[in-house]
């Protein structure tokens, strides 16, 4: 095979690639990150690059598809990097890539988390820290170090069987001697899957444990002992740092899942992961997200502890707080590099996330999730350690991946069902997670049914002409004057508007509907006296922001967007009507609607009912819970009984596969209307 030189204008040195290499691969080789929101399927058009030079240069790149590129773009040499194959030496111009912005947290307060009432680390928690004093060996007592440690532990706690990894076993002798036979052990009581009643009793009744950490000396009882509750969302990864001794959430942090650049929805990511080194790249990307967040929360927690703020920490370039240093040691010389990082104080992690995210985190092939008959490789993942998962916490830390139910009902839903209290009430409740996949659970403490429907990413701002995520500049609410058809908008971060986020789209759709800008079928009414309804490049559209209002282009919603939103809301509504039908429970007997998902927090109920996204019931029945998945992971992290409850939920949930049920399509077309074809389901909308 022939090698070709590919020169990207943003990088000094050209790269050498063989014939047939995709431009995305060549860019990757050169160290350039090209966004591929569709997973490299050539559908989204966001990876467009420009071939520089004349026709000769152009012929060095063979384009398999130019979907989403205009004829003018193609004439100017633009190609889709994921669809363009290198066949000769070529120079490439890389246009500025859209930058991912971090979700603003300033105006959207961090969730207040209540420590579960009655949390007692000596009963609920599986992680224990035990100070041990061993009898030193002598010529009279030549017992080996490991047996000596076990004996001391048995005498102190009654634990008879202790497991340990090889790497920790290597440390035991030196640590025992360094501490002069006084040590502190961190244990994980391994009773998962066993009878939980045992946990009601004190530690001494337990039989078996795993040694996670052994430190020289007796560590002060208030030294940090942390756990991490993690939710891997398709869009956002959330990490809570938890003090296992008090149960308190010490820090929270969230950022975009770095996999987004390799696919915006789970299907695109599975496709990306199935190609070449895609699976490893996906694993690495999500680990970068999680580990970055872990580092961030630990840094903040440690600096708080040392009364040093982030900025000072950065400018002084002090090393992070190290293990076992009580506040009093602050004046001591800085910790040496040999000492373990503060993230080592995290000795347990509990992870929620949808089935695809869980597979990709663990590097387990996920293709079967996408293909009929849609099965996962594993729903109940066995206990793992941080070393094998490569989480940047204590290498021996217990990693607990929460169980899922099916390909499209994962641990985020089982954890959410727990934290929402769905499974713990006599009331029939509907729990829904509004996202790219609309997962819905219906049930009570007696029974649970669930389904997932592909709503598409419209509510997350994707697949919409001027859609964006809920970041600075996103229009999050719209009001339309019913006489003049002039809109008023509210923008996140008080910035110039850039596009619509999910809540803004729901708001806009509802306003357009009630003011008659669109009819019940989503068609624009061109006979209204306003210039805002016009024919654009993609058909009819309604202009919300004119370019001269401080933005460089008109921000409009097109009829294609309206159709996408209608389909998304119809899929979600149809999901729960099918669930209700499947168990013979009329929707009006549902007493509570529990709405999860970070996005769920910002939905305006009135508008969501007006467009038929949410069922028409009294507003007090709706409960917005925020990120229920990470909350469920937090409960499971603290309390083994809650962990057992999630396993119970996962095994009790009956999964209804909508693609195997023709009633879904009927329900879907019926819901593909504003608010619904059956107006009797929306009396409050009909009456308004």
């Amino acid at each position: 095979m022939t090698a070709h030189r590919v020169k990207f204008d943003v990088i000094a040195e050209p790269v050498q690639v063989v014939t047939g290499t995709l431009l995305t691969e060549a860019a990757h080789e050169a160290g350039i990150d090209i966004a591929q929101p569709c997973g490299g399927q050539g559908r989204c058009g966001r990876c467009a690059l420009q071939v520089v030079g004349g026709s000769e240069s152009r012929s060095s790149v063979r384009s398999r598809s130019t979907l989403r590129l205009s004829p003018e773009d193609v004439a100017q040499g633009y190609v889709l990097a994921c669809q363009a194959v290198v066949e000769g030496d070529v120079s490439i111009h890389v246009p500025p890539q859209e930058a991912l912005e971090r979700r603003l947290t300033t105006d959207r307060t961090v969730a207040e988390v209540q420590v579960p009432a009655g949390y007692d680390p000596a009963i609920d928690q599986t992680i224990r820290r035990v100070a041990l004093t061993l009898t030193p060996p002598s010529m009279d007592d030549q017992t080996d170090d490991w047996s000596r440690l076990q004996t001391a532990l048995r005498q102190e706690t009654g634990i008879g069987e202790l497991q340990v990894s090889l790497s920790l076993l290597r440390k035991i002798g030196p640590v025992l001697r360094e501490g002069e036979w006084e040590v502190t052990a961190v244990l994980n009581l391994e009773s998962r899957g066993q009878k939980v009643e045992g946990l009601q009793s004190p530690i001494s009744n337990l039989q078996s444990a795993k040694l996670i950490d052994l430190q020289p000396g007796h560590i002060p009882a208030d030294a940090p002992l942390w756990g991490a509750a993690i939710d891997i969302g398709t869009t956002t990864v959330s990490v809570w740092l938890v003090d296992l001794l008090t149960g308190e959430v010490v820090q929270q942090a969230a950022e975009y899942n770095r996999q987004i650049r390799r696919g915006e929805d789970v299907i695109s990511r599975i496709i990306f992961a199935s190609k070449n080194n895609g699976r490893e790249e996906m694993r690495r990307l999500v680990l970068e997200s999680i580990n970055g967040l872990l580092e961030r929360v630990v840094k903040r927690a440690s600096s708080e502890w040392r009364v040093v703020d982030d900025q000072q920490l950065a400018t002084n370039n002090q090393p992070p707080a190290t293990n076992n240093q009580p506040p009093a040691t602050n004046n001591q010389p800085p910790a040496t590099n040999n000492q373990p990082p503060a993230t080592n104080n995290i000795v347990k992690a509990t992870i929620a996330g949808n089935s695809t995210m869980m597979h990709l985190l663990l590097g387990i092939p996920a293709e079967s999730i996408r293909l009929s008959p849609f099965v996962t490789a594993v729903n109940h993942i066995p206990p793992l350690t941080a070393r094998e998962v490569e989480l940047a916490i204590h290498p021996e830390a217990a990693v607990d991946c929460l169980p899922g139910v099916a390909s499209y009902v994962g641990a985020d839903i089982t954890a959410g069902a727990l934290s929402s209290g769905l499974d713990d009430s006599e009331q029939v409740s509907l729990f829904m997670d509004i996202g790219t996949n609309g997962e819905t659970v219906l049930g009570s403490h007696d029974w649970l049914v669930t389904c997932a429907c592909s709503a598409g990413p419209a509510f997350e701002g994707a697949g919409v002409e001027h859609g964006m995520r809920a970041t600075r500049g996103a229009i999050e609410e719209v009001w339309i004057n019913s006489d003049t058809y002039e809109p008023t908008i509210r923008v996140i971060g008080d910035a110039a508007p850039k596009g619509f986020c999910g809540s803004g789209l729901i708001s806009l759709l509802a306003e357009m509907f009630v003011t008659g800008v669109i009819d019940k079928g989503g068609n624009f009414n061109t006979s209204l006296p306003t210039t805002r309804i016009r024919k654009g490049a993609h058909g009819l559209e309604y202009v919300v922001v004119w370019a001269n209002e401080g933005v460089n282009r008109d921000i409009a919603i097109t009829h294609v967007d309206v159709d996408n939103l209608l389909r998304a809301k119809a899929a979600i509504y149809a999901g729960f009507t099918v669930l209700a039908d499947a168990v013979g429970v009329p929707l009006e007997t549902v007493e509570r609607v529990l709405i999860g998902g970070a996005f769920g927090k910002y939905i305006n109920v009135e508008k969501a009912v007006e467009i038929g996204l949410l069922p028409d019931m009294p507003w007090e029945n709706f409960h917005f819970l925020g990120n229920t998945a990470v909350l469920g992971a937090y409960y499971a992290l603290l309390d083994e009984k809650q962990r057992a409850r999630i396993a119970d939920i996962a095994s009790r949930m009956t999964y209804i596969e909508l693609s195997a049920d023709n009633s879904f399509f009927e329900a879907f077309t019926s819901a593909l209307f504003l608010p619904h074809t059956d107006m009797s389901l929306f009396p409050s909308v009909a009456g308004s």
Binding site: K520, G521, N523, N525, E666, T669, L672
Partner: protein, 329 residues
């Protein structure tokens, strides 16, 4: 022991619609058609009344079509050259009603114009006293451009204007409202979509009595089962009291059946298929009769012989109703 025949009792009833207006009602028609009013499934006369018999319309065009079967061209002959003559021939063939389809282009290949369309419709009205439905060429812009002047020129005739679809209904409905006409509303073989379109149209203010719904159907062997099932479910919903489905139904078995290979092709087919003309007429007739059984109120046909045969079927199916009325049961 006497046998008890179980009878269903339905809470709902199909609305009654009248197409065409006589001089007394502000039009020029010598006859009108009235359809709907069913209180039971089709021809279940022992359960409840079926006050109006289904009617047969013949499809004619504003010019000689390029894509019709040679069998039809032979049958209608020179009448096809002028819409008025064709209308007269269709009335003579026994139609209750005419359905005029406007073409996108004339025989000369030039685009149809509002003037030409109005002239064609007026010559049909002048040549025949039958009530009329007028369908546009089936392209959004052309439909709106041609149907509005036609509706205005024929104000008060109670023509059924078509075809309203979910992506193009506003203009047609608005002109129907302004000029005292009706509309036909076509949805692609789906109960929900039919219902949605009816809601959209009534939302504009056109009364339900002036909408005839077209559920779309397929020919025998080309999806008629699906169409049948959708019509049956629409009618069941209507009888159960769902207001937005309580409309008479118009179907176009002539258009569907004459698209089928069995009707279209006369050579190179197996000998066992038999006589071409007989087969083609059977195809149209059987399609139409099946739709009759699924609740069709207006059947649009193309061949005169099919009209004769379908009429026979309607007579027989309605006999029990005559009997019921006669005996007062």
């Amino acid at each position: 022991m006497p046998v008890q025949i179980p009878k269903d009792k339905w809470p709902g009833q199909v609305r009654v619609a009248t197409i065409g207006a006589t001089e007394a009602d502000g039009g020029t028609r010598t006859s009108v058609i009235t359809v709907g009013g069913e209180k039971a499934l089709p021809f279940m006369h022992f359960e409840a009344e079926m006050p109006y018999r289904p009617v047969i319309a013949l499809e004619i065009k504003d010019r000689k079509p390029d894509d019709w079967s040679p069998l039809l061209l032979e049958t209608w002959g020179e009448a096809m050259d002028a819409p008025g003559a064709w209308a007269k021939a269709a009335e003579a063939a026994g139609a209750d009603m005419l359905q005029l389809s406007l073409s996108l282009t004339g025989v000369d290949g030039e685009p149809n114009t509002p003037d030409k369309a109005v002239t064609a419709v007026q010559s049909v009205l002048n040549s025949s006293g039958l009530p009329l439905a007028v369908f546009g060429p089936g392209q959004k812009e052309a439909d709106n451009e041609l149907l509005v002047p036609v509706a205005e020129a024929t104000k008060g005739e109670r023509i059924a204007l078509g075809i309203c679809e979910d992506k193009n209904y506003r203009t047609i409905v608005a002109t129907a409202m302004a000029n005292d006409h009706l509309v036909t509303a076509r949805a692609p073989m789906d109960v929900n979509l039919s219902k949605q379109l009816n809601i959209l149209i009534t939302d504009m203010g056109l009364p339900l009595e002036r909408i005839i719904m077209d559920p779309t159907t397929g020919a025998l062997g080309y999806g008629i089962e699906y169409g049948y099932s959708v019509m049956e479910r629409l009618r069941l919903a209507a009888l159960q009291g769902d207001t937005m489905t309580q409309l008479p139904m118009i179907v176009t078995p002539g258009f569907e059946a004459w698209k089928a290979k069995e009707s279209k092709v006369g050579t190179g087919v197996p000998a066992a298929w038999g006589d071409w003309l007989e087969r083609a007429i059977n195809w149209e007739t059987l399609t139409a009769v099946a739709l009759l059984e699924s609740g069709a109120d207006i059947l649009v046909l193309r061949h005169p012989e099919s009209v004769r045969r379908v009429r026979m079927a309607i007579e027989e199916l309605m006999e029990a109703e005559e009997l019921r009325l006669a005996t007062g049961n």
